[in-house]
Amino acid sequence: MNNEKFLEKKMRFAKGYIVFGFLLIVINLALSYWAIKIKDFWFSMIGIWGVIFIAMGIVRYFLYKNQSILKLYRVHENDERSEMLRGKAGYLTFVFSSIALAICSVIFVSFNLIWPSIVVLAILFVQFIVFYMLMWHYSRKL
């Protein structure tokens, strides 16, 4: 992937952050305009996250404009050894989180907390589905 294509891809991410941040702020304003009752905590949380996303987008935008920093990002992202390391570490993390979620659900059941246990099992199930969907998706590409 050449520098221009990589910059284009990264800029899309940076703009996505800014758009998402604005979207959160618009949601926040819309909720207050229509006086929809949610707790004050959520009003401030949505607004704060909106500002955080906009700030992250702006910082990324200016970082990617710097050619030497962009090159560092490109090498780190496209380096074949780093990709292999991420793949190995990612798979082990997946196995670890699956075991941790299974243990959590057993602990919840033993404390008679049925709903938390069901939620944890649902997350575990979704995690497996996402994993195999991604495997299928990438197996068609490679």
């Binding site: 490109r74 090498v75 780190h76 496209n78 380096d79 074949e80 050894r81 780093s82």
Partner: protein, 68 residues
């Protein structure tokens, strides 16, 4: 798989970082290749061969018993 990358790099008097820059990989990748801890993809092997102007089999020496 053994290789003569370090030898070739030293002959050209370039650092690992310079070679990494030319190949668009990290310095750690070059270091791992030189130590024989990591085998490159065919694309990287070709890039290295072109950079040093040598055939791949001259740079990378495949030893069958390693994989048996």
């Amino acid at each position: 798989m053994k290789n003569i990358l370090e030898q070739l790099r030293k002959q050209m008097s370039i650092s690992q970082l310079e070679l990494a820059d030319a190949m668009e990989v990290s310095r750690q990748t070059i270091s791992s290749l030189e130590n024989g801890r990591y085998n490159p993809s065919i694309v990287l092997a070709f890039k290295l061969a072109r950079y040093f102007d040598k055939p791949i089999e001259e740079i990378f020496i495949y030893e069958e018993e390693e994989y048996e």
